[in-house]
């Protein structure tokens, strides 16, 4: 079997078997890996991202974004066996303010388990990460877990001139970086200082150790207009190139993406707040659609959670299987396919198997 997930098995039978062997309680998503891989080299964690908690005024926050995070937290808490830890992938806040970060932290505090945080641009550009760091600690760091080396990067930095010299107020700086298709924006980057740190950090790691990197922006260049982009992506990729198994997870794009560049497998995370459409550039042909300069509404505007979700990730022998828990949609799994040498959407590779667009009154 090329990957640890096989959706074709008989679930009822599987649950029966599983409940015989396990003393603990069981939800199917995370139990799969236990049945198909050695428990010694497999584990799972949950991955929640892009909640964009937004203050309206005083104690009033945008209900919709609150509900997205509340739901992801409540569902994560139902996973059994418990995930080893939880990653929050950045953009906890919308405009980086203290009330937003505090409120977001309060909602996240309901999570059972250790949470690792990734910095998003919406958390950063008001006070350059000062309050975020008070709440959550270091902006870039690494840790080891069950034979895997994890790295968390702050990939949403940019040119110093833009950050320090361009804007009359911190609020304006934040607002400019939050915009899409904004000519006043600036491309994200990891930066020299962090790359130096990464080089030193990775020097201690054996080349056959699986490496998993979390960044907020994709460590690849996808679409500059929306900052689906990291300016020094190639330089970061070069540092990761010597390792046998590398996986990069990123948020920011609010949609499912997966890719393989050399030895590096990339998979994105869904947002709990709202979905972004796929940029027109993906079509690689002229589409003549009106240019999108405002936030997209729901894929199905009635269901405010539609096209949002969160991930549960199974790691087996250093490779990842990402289970996307999607509201109003079938669960999807993007798993590394060893034979193909890249991640694959397990259920929807073939055209005829793809999910048709929703039709609604």
């Amino acid at each position: 079997m090329s990957h640890p997930i096989n959706r074709g098995f008989d679930r009822r039978q599987f649950l029966k078997n599983a409940s015989l062997t396990l003393a603990g309680t069981a939800l199917p998503i995370t139990m799969v890996e236990l049945a198909f891989a050695k428990s010694s080299d497999s584990f799972n964690f949950a991955y929640i991202s892009d909640s964009h908690i937004q203050q309206i005024k005083g104690n009033s926050f945008v209900r919709n974004w609150d509900r997205g995070l509340l739901r992801a937290v409540a569902e994560t808490n139902l996973l059994a066996p418990r995930p080893d830890f939880i990653i929050f992938g950045g953009d906890l806040a919308q405009m980086g303010s203290k009330p937003e970060l505090d409120h977001g932290a309060e909602l996240l505090s309901k999570l059972n388990g250790k949470v690792y945080h990734v910095m998003g641009e919406h958390d950063y550009y008001l006070d350059l990460g000062e309050y975020w760091s008070k709440l959550f600690g270091k902006q870039y760091y690494s840790f080891d877990h069950k034979g895997v080396h994890f790295v968390v990067l702050n990939s949403i930095l940019t040119y110093d001139d833009w950050t320090f010299n361009r804007w009359p107020t911190a609020q304006q700086r934040m607002a400019e970086m939050a915009g899409l298709d904004n000519p006043n924006g600036s491309p994200f980057m990891v930066g020299d200082k962090q790359r130096d740190w990464l080089k030193k950090d990775l020097a201690k790691v054996k080349k056959d150790t699986p490496v998993i990197v979390f960044s907020h922006s994709p460590l690849q260049k996808i679409y500059k207009g929306w900052n689906f982009w990291t300016e020094d992506a190639e330089a970061v990729q070069a540092l990761l190139a010597p390792f046998d198994k590398v996986t990069v997870f990123y948020g920011h794009v609010h949609q499912i993406q997966y890719n393989q560049i050399g030895n590096i497998a990339f998979t994105s995370a869904m947002a709990t707040a709202w979905p972004w459409p796929y940029p027109q550039a993906y079509a690689q042909a002229q589409q003549l659609l009106p240019k999108l300069t405002v936030q997209m509404n729901r894929a199905d505007p009635f269901f405010e959670r539609d096209a949002t979700g969160w991930q549960c990730i199974d790691i087996a022998t250093g490779r990842a299987s990402v289970n996307f828990n999607l509201y109003n949609n079938a669960t999807r799994t993007v798993a590394y396919d060893a034979q193909a040498g890249h991640p694959k959407d397990v259920g929807y590779q073939l055209d005829e198997k793809r999910i048709p667009p929703q039709i609604h009154y």
């Binding site: 937290v73 139902l78 269901f303 405010e304 828990n325 009154y361």
Partner: protein, 408 residues
């Protein structure tokens, strides 16, 4: 008084007796899909009707399908909150009407049954419904009772010893497929273009239904027909709100019990906590925690109380619940798993009254007399005091005969 629906049943039979004549489609309903392996015939429908009303198919000899789906109560057991089976045992769920049920794509409140044929077998062996331990007593009766022997011979060309539950269920399904009704004042107004069929208030209510109330997104209306359901499942904050603090502990436990062989049909009807898990109990899908099937709205004026647990007494209570964004009382906690479509609506008092007036226009002529007998129209537009709602909710939990999943 003869059940009013039988007029229509007779009409349907005449239609079948003369195949050349297309029997009239009730206004507002789409053509009903009849499965190829279970065609409608007058004899089969008659047999289904007899089976539907046969109390011998219960352990006490006192309960038939019609006990909880009473033709005189629009095929419900209104005003019961949750249904009463053998020995007055109460289940966890409100009896949904059979009227137009044939149009659903999945059956029971949580969709745990895939066809109307499949559905019919389950209540017979549910311990809080008809209470038999298996289907054998049913087969014994239909294989010996001369009327049944003859009927099964005629309908299925089957000798008594060969009759199985498959034929029994097919006949019941065929009968249920005749219990459809449209032709409501709304249908005459909207599809029939009769401008006077519903009054100005109901017309304003229809506008609320389509726009500010957001009702139509799930209670679907098409260009030429309206079933008022999307055949999907949603967490609208009913039932699940009562067990919010226990979900984290209970949901995984339930799945484990299910994995070790607990019967979902029995568990959800006898264990109130399991019941409130909704479609999650069937599919294990986190996205469907606390979700239940979108009911049709046809004939809601005669099928109170409402929701899967019968916890809302009047149509006004239902509208208020939605207006509050999925909580019955404004101070309740919104459940974490609430469907994305549910949010506070900010309807005015007048808009809520208009909406209820619109819902009253969905009553088919067969049930107009029943509606009239229930008294003045405002009954549906009366808010139940919060104290009574809380008391009813508490009762539902207390009455549970079962403490944990898997111990029916």
């Amino acid at each position: 008084m003869a059940p009013p629906i039988h007029t229509m049943l007779a009409a349907a039979c005449i239609g079948f007796a003369a195949p050349a004549a297309v029997h009239a489609q009730p206004l507002g309903l789409p053509p009903l899909h009849i499965p190829a392996d279970n065609p409608q015939t007058p004899d089969k429908i008659k047999l289904g009707d007899k089976l539907f009303n046969d109390k011998r198919f219960s352990s006490t000899g006192l309960i038939s399908c019609a006990t909880c789906h009473d033709p005189n109560k629009a095929f419900t057991d209104s005003p019961l909150v949750t249904s009463k089976g053998i020995k007055d045992l109460t289940g966890t769920r409100n009896a949904p009407t059979v009227v137009n049920a044939a149009y659903f794509s999945l059956f029971f409140w949580d969709g745990r049954s895939p066809t109307i044929e499949d559905q019919a077998q389950h209540p017979i062996i549910n311990p809080v419904e008809m209470g038999l331990s298996n289907h054998d007593p049913v087969l014994q009766i239909v294989r010996i009772d001369p009327e049944y022997v003859n009927a099964f011979r005629t309908v299925f060309k089957t000798e008594p010893a060969q009759v199985t539950m498959k034929e029994v269920q097919k006949a019941i399904a065929s009968f249920e497929r005749t219990i459809i009704s449209g032709d409501s004042p709304f249908d005459r107004w909207y599809f029939g273009k009769d401008k006077t069929a519903i009054n100005a208030q109901a017309q304003r209510g229809f506008d609320v239904f389509l726009n500010k109330g957001r009702c139509v997104s799930c209670h679907v209306i098409e260009n030429d027909q309206a079933l008022f359901t999307d055949n999907r499942f949603h967490n609208i904050g009913v039932g699940i709100n009562r067990i919010q603090n226990e979900v984290q502990d209970f949901a995984p436990k339930f799945l484990q019990a299910k994995g070790s062989g607990v019967d979902v049909d029995k568990a959800v009807l006898s264990n109130p906590k399991a019941s409130e898990l909704g479609r999650f109990a069937v599919t294990d899908s986190l996205d469907e925690l606390g979700s239940f099937k979108t009911s049709t709205l046809r004939n809601v004026s005669v099928t109170a109380p409402f929701m899967h647990d019968g916890s809302l007494k009047t149509l006004r209570d239902v509208v208020e619940h939605y207006n509050n964004g999925g909580i019955t009382n404004k101070t309740d906690k919104v459940n974490d798993f609430l469907s994305g479509g549910i949010r506070p609506l900010n309807l005015t008092e007048e808009e809520m009254s208009d909406l209820v007036a619109f819902l009253e226009t969905l009553t088919s002529p067969q049930f107009a007399a029943q509606r009239a007998a229930m008294g003045t129209a405002p009954a549906c537009n009366v808010k139940t005091p919060a104290s009574l709602v809380a008391a009813a909710a508490a009762r539902t939990v207390e009455h549970s005969p079962i403490k944990t999943a898997g111990q029916p």
